[in-house]
């Protein structure tokens, strides 16, 4: 049976919530059958996105059957501990990423938009889902969103197929022309979250110093506006918006300096040598950011498209990209599966941590939804069909877990973005090329 959105049984799934939750369960228990039930479920409080490059080995990824999530496939096996809060979605697609490339896979993943084919600064994409969400749920926090990655060195020289490297480097765009650079250095992330200084007074003094530098910078930028012509004034206005944004962050941090205790983590100094150690540290920083409520929106590029990282630690000494052009060679497919599983295991460790961290009445995981996946399906032929997609967490927000939802081939990934945006309280009719919402992911309780 193919579940289409019209044929959905309006049923409530309670499985999976009993273990960790008490109160939020009440929201979830409101029968959806009472159509238009007006008692609201909690909106999704935090949203995260993890990107993996170069698709997956579908054979070892896709669960058998549909509906209830049965035995986990080899790649997904590490997620056993959070299975009750996990939904696997099959057959989603990125239409706008064609003609198929690595650049458009990354660019389209959160934007579902068409990447303008250019190598210059006239690149144009679309505002990404995380940034639309951040405008709603990021307003109150010190950082509206946090952009993380793992690759310390950006690609140099000519990128790919005449696409500017931003498409490959940046997952998150705050407007169609504003890609947000991501950070891979744990110490710098830590300093963005917690600033300098090791005491409340020290942190406050450091923040005030930053604020006064920024004041002065802002005046000088404003003066610049008089020097430039009409066409360039728009750019100066963008700069001023940026400055106001940074100002706001500093104010928030100052307000929070007294209430957010320093985390129980040594200030990281370097970048761990092993990939897993580095990734785990980056995930830990996300836990800390949520715990201290410094941000509620995170994007994390776990590896970059086209990268040639080798994984000797899991028995894959071959570089990822050429291996992903497997041409159905069983040996190469097995290696891709190993890489897929390795990445999933890092994500699983993170979800376990979220689950183990108290947040209000439940756990951080209950109040957080993460989307994990790739913008390529079969990387061997650069297609954007049947993307590997997981949605995890969110039990307190009405998210049903323990499911495998199989759509008709070609269902837009944007439908999922639209659904998540709806759940964080952003009311839009359409996102990218969406043509509906992802049914059966959340309890059908109107917000």
């Amino acid at each position: 049976m193919i579940i289409t959105k019209k044929a959905l049984p309006r049923r409530t799934f309670l499985r999976g919530l009993q273990a960790t939750l008490a109160l939020p369960l009440l929201d979830a228990m409101i029968p959806a059958a009472t159509a238009l039930a007006q008692t609201p479920a909690k909106p999704v409080r935090r949203l995260g996105f993890v990107y993996i490059p170069m698709g997956c080995d579908h054979g070892r990824w896709t669960p058998a059957g549909q509906g209830t999530l049965g035995e986990l496939t080899p790649i997904l096996a590490p997620l056993e501990g959070v299975k009750e809060q996990l939904t696997v979605i099959t057959n989603l697609r990125l239409e706008q990423s064609y003609p198929g490339t690595h650049d458009t896979a990354n660019a389209g993943f959160l934007s579902a938009a068409f990447a303008k084919h250019t190598e210059s600064s006239d690149y144009y994409l679309g505002t990404t889902a995380d940034q639309v969400a951040a405008k709603e749920i990021g307003r109150e926090t010190q950082l509206p969103s946090l952009e993380l990655a793992m690759d310390l060195n950006p690609l140099a020289g000519v990128c790919n197929n005449g696409y500017a490297c931003v498409y490959q480097n940046c997952l998150s765009w705050s407007s169609p022309t504003t890609p947000l650079p991501s950070e891979a250095h744990p110490r710098i992330v830590f300093e963005r979250l917690f600033g300098e200084g090791d005491s409340v007074d020290g942190r406050r003094a450091a923040l005030r110093e930053r604020a006064s530098l920024l004041d002065s910078f802002s005046d000088d930028i404003a003066r610049l506006k008089r020097r430039v012509g009409a066409t360039d004034r728009a750019r100066v206005d963008q700069y001023l918006d940026t400055i106001r944004e940074v100002e706001r962050q500093i104010q928030r941090a100052e307000a929070g300096a007294a209430t957010n205790p320093m985390p129980d983590l040594d200030r990281p100094v370097g970048v761990p040598a092993a990939f897993a150690d580095h990734a785990n540290l980056m995930f830990d920083l996300q836990v800390l950011a949520f715990q201290a409520d410094i941000t509620r929106v995170v994007t994390f590029q776990l590896a970059r498209e086209l990268n040639n990282r080798t994984y000797p630690e899991i028995g894959v000494p071959d570089p990822h990209h050429p291996t992903s052009h497997h041409g159905n060679d069983p040996e190469k497919l097995a290696k891709i599966a190993k890489i897929n599983q390795f990445h999933v295991s890092l994500f699983a460790r993170f979800l376990d941590k979220l689950k183990a961290t108290q947040d209000g009445d439940g756990s951080l995981l209950d109040n957080t939804v993460y989307l994990y996946g790739s913008g390529l399906g079969n990387s061997s032929i650069h297609d954007h069909e049947n993307l590997p997609i997981l949605v995890a967490g969110g039990a307190a927000c009405g998210m049903k877990g323990g499911r495998h939802i199989k759509y008709e081939a070609g269902t837009p990934l944007a439908n999922l973005h639209l659904t998540l945006l709806d759940r964080v309280g952003v009311r839009v009719d359409k996102f990218g090329d969406s043509n509906g919402k992802i049914e059966d992911l959340f309890d059908l309780v109107a917000l």
């Binding site: 500017a164 650079p181 710098i188 300098e196 930053r210 940026t242 050429p322 052009h325």
Partner: protein
């Protein structure tokens, strides 16, 4: 803060620079006359190569077009969006954009396609000289210099260099600022954005640098970890460390204050977690060096119970260090007994536990933390640079602060400073002084100068009264910045700034003299490291990691040697002001023992790089034979004739192939993977859609097939039999091997010169080169020809060109 990877060998570079500076000085002033020529003189020399026989007319050009081009490029088929049936060939200037595309295709013989009827050389030449002549005349009459973006921020390299030249502090900008995006092949093109995270980082960077430069740590510790590349073999002597040592690292590090610092290090461990290279009861002596003097010694050996988990937890010494830049070294004393014994095939690489393990222990990372018991800022180059005065008595503080700041701000803002400019930094100074004294005040003010739009942004604004769309000459100050950011990727020095402020710089002889002076300065190494590093994609070497089974002898030592060879080679052409054509064919290169062994060249010993004159049978010499270029254009498991072909066509020949068409099937999805690469590509070319580009691309790459994926010469490719290096180049027919390819490229040197010029111009302007730049490029190449395309003739050609000196008003 630290600078440089452990593999960098700056002092080798310094030697080369010193010698080469003399060579360049000799040639100074020879070409001053040509410099005086104003752009308007273009018309006089525009018409080139008059046709033989009948005088060609517009109608004969139309016939040539109709016969060879319009078959595809017509209104019905619209091939590549180029419609040549309707444009007016009698007036090329009216359709300059499309005609420049035609010129490029005709020049490089990439059109008509090789499987279509070809015009005779005479027809081709006549049409070309007609088009180029008309386009150049029109450009001379109405120059279009294009428009660089008004607001451009310093990129990471420029920021690092500017800090070095402003404060005499070496920083590692990569640890302070987010990476830049690349456009048109260079990272100084897309620099108009200013996202919040970057502003945030600019503030932190300004604060950290101002503390480091003024020697104030504000009570916090400086702490940095220097990681050694995990695939660095450490069995041999490493350049930069004393003789008698093996392995280890040498780190350039700037200490903020006089005081005591912890230097701690860890040993390399295998996947299983054991320290590598500890065997039996053999002892290994580790030396810690400061400026090459031993300051500490430790000995390690395998613990009796074999449990080494705590063995390197406390390899740490605390030593007094004076503030300022120092070399920190951590290395091993070479054991006379440690013969390189291995159970497997002897390889040079030793870092992989399972295949070619380390024989002796290695350093994995070094951390430096301090100061403890700090004793103040001390006497450092940066403090001498900043504190140009000291308040002699109370009450003179402000006057001295003004002097310090105006000196600094003139350099930082690249313009004269007036009193009003000083107000804000002085406010920061006063705030700091009231809480922490004079030095604290200066530290705060320096931070405010560094976090200032006038330092961080390069602004090129239209002068008041500029008419929309009309070109104007940029100001002397703007010209000074264009020149220094082109040649040095940094701020102007005092001499250049003085000339601009005097209003002298626009005088052609002053401009040439400044440009030549700057080329002779060591800072122009930037053209090698930064420009050529991106043009030739040497920067991507860090991402090169060949398959360890197929290429077990590849390690970081080889990777760094590849980079060194190419950098020293390009720099020699620059320093000795040689012809750019030497880049493609030379009888010398730079080698150390590691690289010489890789290339199979005998008689080169030791880790130090030196210039080596090559015998013809060495098969080395030009860039196309460099391991760097050959490996960045290969995949991890095999060569890629396609990537190599695209590299040569784009970066040397000047005919970049178009990107793949939508929905072209990938090679690997359709063709059996076990065929030799030549056969796989032949299968790919069976599809006419693929063939349209690959018929041009693949033969160029095939010519380089004698070099494997790590740049070694080979006559056979494993089970696939003898290498067939028959290749081709558009307009040159078939050719044989790398020598044939070089010969074909050098037969049309103007194409290579034009390609280098185009790349240099992109880098110089920080924007993509457009059709309206083509006349300027042709002129530069034409004028450099009598000089045999000497490096300086191309650089100076750019400096005096219309796009470099002018800008179109918005």
């Amino acid at each position: 803060m630290r600078n440089g990877s452990p593999g960098a060998l700056p002092h080798v570079r310094a030697v080369t620079i010193g010698l080469a500076g003399l060579a360049l000085a000799v040639t100074l002033g020879v070409r001053a006359g040509a410099f005086a020529e104003a752009p308007a003189a273009e018309a006089r020399i525009a018409q080139t190569s008059p046709a033989v026989g009948a005088v060609p007319t517009a109608s004969s050009h139309r016939r040539t077009l109709d016969r060879y081009c319009v078959t595809c490029h017509n209104q019905k088929l619209k091939t590549a969006g180029v419609l040549l049936d309707t444009v007016d060939v009698a007036d090329p200037a009216a359709g300059a954009e499309v005609w420049e595309r035609v010129v490029r295709k005709l020049r490089t013989s990439t059109m008509p396609p090789s499987n279509m009827p070809q015009p005779s050389d005479e027809e081709r030449g006549q049409l070309l000289s007609w088009l180029e002549g008309a386009l150049d005349r029109a450009a001379a009459a109405r120059p279009d210099p294009g428009r660089t973006e008004t607001l451009r921020r310093l990129n990471r390299t420029e920021y690092q260099n500017a800090i070095r030249d402003l404060l005499l502090v070496e920083i590692d900008a990569a640890s302070l600022l987010p990476p830049d995006e690349s456009g048109h092949g260079f990272d100084n093109v897309i620099v108009g954005d200013l996202p919040p995270a970057l502003v945030d980082r600019y503030i932190s960077a300004a604060q950290r640098i101002s503390r480091l430069a003024t020697g104030r740590t504000q009570g916090t510790l400086q702490s940095d970890i220097i990681r050694v590349a995990p695939d660095l073999t450490q069995e041999q002597h490493a350049d930069g460390l004393p003789i008698g040592t093996r392995g280890g690292v040498s780190i350039k590090y700037t200490f903020a204050q006089d005081g005591e610092y912890d230097i701690q290090f860890y040993l390399a461990r295998s996947y299983s977690g054991d320290i590598e290279g500890l065997k039996g009861s053999e002892q290994h002596e580790i030396r810690v060096l400061l400026d090459r003097r031993p300051i500490g010694t430790m000995t390690v050996q395998r613990p009796p119970d074999g449990d080494d988990s705590l063995l390197d937890r406390n390899l740490k010494i605390r030593v007094p260090v004076t503030a300022g830049p120092h070399d920190v070294g951590v290395t091993f004393v070479r054991n006379s007994s440690s013969l390189l014994e291995t159970a497997r095939q002897p390889l040079l690489a030793h870092f992989n536990e399972r295949r070619h393990p380390r024989i002796t222990p290695a350093i994995q990372q070094v951390s430096i933390t301090g100061p403890y018991a700090a004793k103040g800022g001390g006497d450092t180059p940066s403090r001498r640079r900043i504190f140009v005065c000291r308040p002699a008595e109370a009450g003179q503080d402000d006057a001295c602060a003004r002097q310090i700041l105006s000196t600094l701000m003139r350099r930082a803002f690249r313009r004269p400073i007036v009193d009003a400019d000083l107000e804000r930094p002085l406010a920061f100074y006063r705030e700091g002084r009231s809480s922490g004294g004079f030095d604290a005040g200066i530290e705060r003010a320096v931070g405010a100068v560094l976090f200032n739009p006038e330092f961080l942004l390069r602004v090129e604004a239209d002068p008041s009264g500029a008419k929309a769309g009309v070109p104007y000459r940029i100001s002397d100050l703007e010209l000074a910045s264009r020149l220094s950011f082109f040649l040095w990727s940094s701020i102007p020095d005092d001499a250049l700034l003085d000339a601009a402020i005097r209003g002298d710089l626009r005088r052609p002889e002053v401009l040439e003299q400044q440009a030549r002076r700057m080329l002779a300065d060591p800072r122009s190494f930037n053209l090698t490291s930064n420009f050529a590093g991106q043009w030739l994609q040497l920067r991507n070497l860090d991402a090169v990691s060949p398959n360890v089974r197929l290429y077990p002898d590849f390690d970081d030592n080889l990777r760094q040697a590849f980079r060194q060879e190419s950098e020293l080679f390009v720099d020699s052409v620059l320093r000795e002001d040689r012809s750019m054509l030497d880049l493609l064919k030379a009888d010398y290169t730079f080698l150390n023992e590691r690289l010489a062994k890789h290339y199979g060249i005998a008689g080169v010993y030791g880790s130090r790089f030196r210039r080596v004159t090559l015998a013809p049978e060495s098969r080395r010499g030009g860039l196309l034979r460099h391991g760097s270029v050959l490996s960045v254009t290969s995949f991890a498991t095999r060569t890629s004739p396609v990537v190599r072909g695209v590299w040569v066509l784009s970066n040397v020949f000047g005919a970049p192939p178009p990107p793949p068409l939508p929905n072209v099937p990938a090679l690997d999805g359709n063709v059996p993977a076990n065929l030799p690469i030549r056969e796989r590509l032949a299968a790919h070319r069976k599809d006419p859609v693929c063939a349209s580009c690959h018929r041009t691309i693949d033969p160029v790459g095939f010519a380089l097939e004698n070099f494997d994926a790590v740049g070694r010469w080979r006559d056979h490719d494993g089970d696939n039999g003898a290498i067939d290096a028959e290749g081709g180049l558009p307009g040159a027919g078939t050719l044989k091997g790398v020598a044939g390819l070089e010969e074909a490229l050098l037969r049309r040197p103007e194409l290579f010169a034009a390609t280098v010029t185009e790349k240099l111009l992109t880098f110089a302007l920080g924007r993509g080169v457009e059709y309206y730049d083509a006349p300027a490029i042709r002129r530069i190449v034409r004028e450099a020809r009598p000089d045999n395309y000497r490096f300086s003739s191309l650089v100076l050609g750019i400096v005096k060109s219309v796009p470099f000196q002018m800008r179109r008003a918005s």
